[in-house]
Amino acid sequence: NITDSDPDGRLTVTDKDVKLQEIALAKNEGKELTKEEKQRLRKEKKQHKKNKKDDKGPPEKEKEKEKASVPAPSKPATQSPAHKAPAPVHASESAAAAEKPAKSKAELRAERRARQDSERTSKQGKKEGGQQSASSKPKATPNELQPVVKRLPEHVQVDDPAALKKLAKKLERQQVPLRSDYGYKVSLFSHLHQYSRKSPPTLQISIPATVIHPSIVRLGLQYSQGIIAGSNARSVALLHTFKQVIQDYSTPPNEELSRDLVNKLSPYISFLSQCRPLSASMGNAIKYIKKEISNIPSQCKEEEAKGKLQACIDSYINEKIILASEAISKYAIEKISDGDVILVYGCSSLVNHILCKAFEKQRKFRVIVVDSRPRLEGREALRRLVKKGIRCTYVLISALSYILPEVSKVFLGAHALLANGYVMSRVGTSQIALVAKAYNVPVLVCCETYKFCERVQTDSFVSNELDDPDDLIVTRNGKSHLENWQTVKSLGLLNLVYDVTPPDFVDLVITDLGMIPCTSVPVVLRVKNVDQ
């Protein structure tokens, strides 16, 4: 790899200026910075920071990223020993500090590369530490054998200015535009982003964008405008787009496909998460792809590797989504009897599929579709079911207590199933489960196993998504009361997207592995990880 030519790294003033100008020019034109330019930029910034530190002299505690086996004694002369506090060797600690250890970069990189290779070979078939792929940097910490404490994802740290600065730096390096928050945020949710649909992140990209693949740009736009919505739809769209990206990819010289392709995907993932925070299913899909890519042996030819990856993606979609929904339908249809009145909420592709299949199998039932503002997704579900010929009734969620005495079963879809048994789903699901419990109506949740997630959560506040608050404004007879809500200082609009349902409201979870109670989710996760 390219090593530093000048360890001291002090360019003359004129050279530095010229180089920085060139780099700025390249960035503005949207061209991808070459490796040299990126390195120079990095070096410049580091030098700048080092100078500042020497001047200020604050004692900074630096966390080393290496394991204990790294020899620590050789410290360079440039850093005065007073600045280096004894660095605790916490390889498994997250929240990486800003400073890199001040060894010679070439030595460090070579050491790390050797260690990663040895680890990778020894880790074939062992459990990988679960790291959030969406937020991991390209120079990530080496995987540990024991499960690492996960780094807190950026999208729940909006109230922390340090985390925001880190994100801005990372996005600038990847040449991905940073999206700014919109509107007054309710104080309980100041740790989350709130974007406006009217200002998509693509406004700041130059066209044609050469850094981010055009199909990724299109996908990001479709996400942010809500054209593609729903956990399964988003995952499938993502996987298809990645297939396209892999197809168009060509390995640069002196690079290995297995490493370079993963690095190429990172800015795309950052861009997509700027458009809309990634869902749990998308996160799992990305983890799978990254694993598959890094497992490509180095002697594999490019065409062969690409073909293999595309086949992997196809089989993932087929197994985890399509076949899974067939299996779930089979189990679920056993639970539907003639004369049932089934209540569904919003538009879940899986639940719609189950109902259509049950109708084809000549079960006699009717459906009540519950809908809620402001998304009104139930209308889409209503359209699909009526097209099939199923008898439907439509109510808003406030009419729930009125309609529930007639209902015999409730079928709900899920966005993710958390490791403590809570069901994360569209906002309003927990309400439906609560009232159904009060009326003693059984609640069945249908969820594929690829949506199972290792996070735990007990309320809907710490990790959620805030949608565009302007969606709540409604105009009736030409007048709307909330039109100028931004001008009123103490008025806030809250448009939550998800909420969590406690497991005591849910009677049964139907997955492709069978029908399990809500509390068995960590068992399934463990089984899955052992398999992989």
Binding site: L188, V395, L396, S401, Y402, V427, F461, L472, H481, V488
Partner: protein
């Protein structure tokens, strides 16, 4: 003849009132609050007492009962009308009894005792004529009107006893009583209000804009998010359309969900309801509007919800705070049992 003119004028007024009620019910006219309806009903009843032809209390009660039946039939969901009619009937009974000289205590005995002791009814059929009865009844109705005018203020005065600083209060839809209640508390304390918008009419939006103008931190949430945010709410304060005899409520749709969520989180549910909303009805038939969108789909749009008394913590009315189990006693003080069926 002056008498006939008065009568035609009277019946015109009654007709106008009835059509006003019908129009409000269908949503075409301007929505008016229950307080206004109560006041207008009572002034109309006063006018009937003053101008209609009657010679003894029994006649008057017949007339009022007949008009009352017509008015409630015009708009069955607006129970305030019926309540006011029953109040006036009780007033007439009391005035009659007082004129006859029998003490009031005898009439307001324990209901159980009354059951055991009253063989035949002590009051005969109100046929005795008293000259001052008209004046007395009109004076009593005037007192009732002043009471009605002061209800919202009486309720708001109790606000500071129930809201502490830095609270998060949740409410649903739009209730003028709750609005006044919260605004009164906001003059002295700082707290945060979350308003559920209550689709499809979204009256919550008006409530939120009105509250935020008084510098109260307000947040509007869609109905689906009620349970999601309930864990951070300290109190739920709602208004209602009617308070039923068993302590339950008939309130705007979505209230039952709100009450269940509050019960799950053990959050107190406080209902601000003036006394004229108390109604002797017990059973509840939901009032719904049906409409056909597609030929194969039924859509339901219920207007009211029934909330059982177990989910309610406290009633705040113009005469103070009460538990739901006490409502039946208040009922017996306001209305005479024979008037429960108009």
């Amino acid at each position: 003849m002056p008498g006939a003119d008065k009568e035609t004028e009277l019946s015109e007024r009654i007709e106008a009132f009835l059509s006003e009620l019908k129009r409000c019910g269908s949503g075409a006219g301007s929505l008016r609050g229950s307080a206004e309806t109560a006041r207008e009903t009572t002034s109309l009843l006063r006018r009937i007492t003053a101008q209609a032809r009657w010679s003894n209390a029994g006649d008057l009660m017949e007339i009022i009962r007949k008009e009352g039946r017509r008015m409630t039939a015009g708009q069955p969901s607006e129970t305030t009308v019926g309540n006011m009619v029953r109040r006036v009937l009780k007033i007439i009974r009391e005035e009659y009894a007082r004129s006859r000289g029998s003490t009031e205590e005898a009439d307001q005995q324990e209901s159980l005792h009354k059951l055991l002791t009253s063989g035949g009814s002590s009051e005969d059929n109100f046929r005795q004529h008293f000259t001052h009865l008209k004046a007395n009844v009109i004076e009593a109705i005037n007192e009732l009107l002043t009471e009605l005018e002061g209800t919202t203020d009486n309720i708001s005065m109790q606000a500071l006893e129930h809201i502490h600083s830095n609270e998060v209060i949740m409410t649903i839809g739009r209730s003028r009583t709750v609005e006044a209640f919260l605004k009164d508390a906001a003059r002295k304390r700082k707290f945060h209000v979350i308003v559920a918008e209550c689709a499809p009419f979204c009256q919550g939006h008006e409530m939120a804009t009105s509250l935020s103008k008084e510098d109260i931190e307000t947040t509007v949430i869609p109905d689906a998010a009620i349970f999601a945010v309930m864990s951070r709410v300290n109190k739920v304060i709602i208004g209602t359309q009617t308070v039923l005899a068993n302590g339950g409520l008939r309130a705007v749709n979505g209230t039952h969900t709100l009450a269940l969520a509050a019960k799950h989180h053990s959050t107190p549910l406080i209902v601000c309801a003036p006394m004229f909303k108390l109604s002797p009805q017990v059973s509840d038939t939901p009032f719904t509007r049906f409409s056909e969108i597609l030929s194969k789909v039924n859509a339901h749009c219920p207007v009211f919800d029934y909330v059982p008394p177990e989910l309610i913590t406290l009633f705040i009315s113009n005469i103070g705070g009460n538990a739901p189990s006490y409502i039946y006693r208040l009922m017996s003080e306001l209305y005479h049992p024979e008037d429960h069926e108009l």
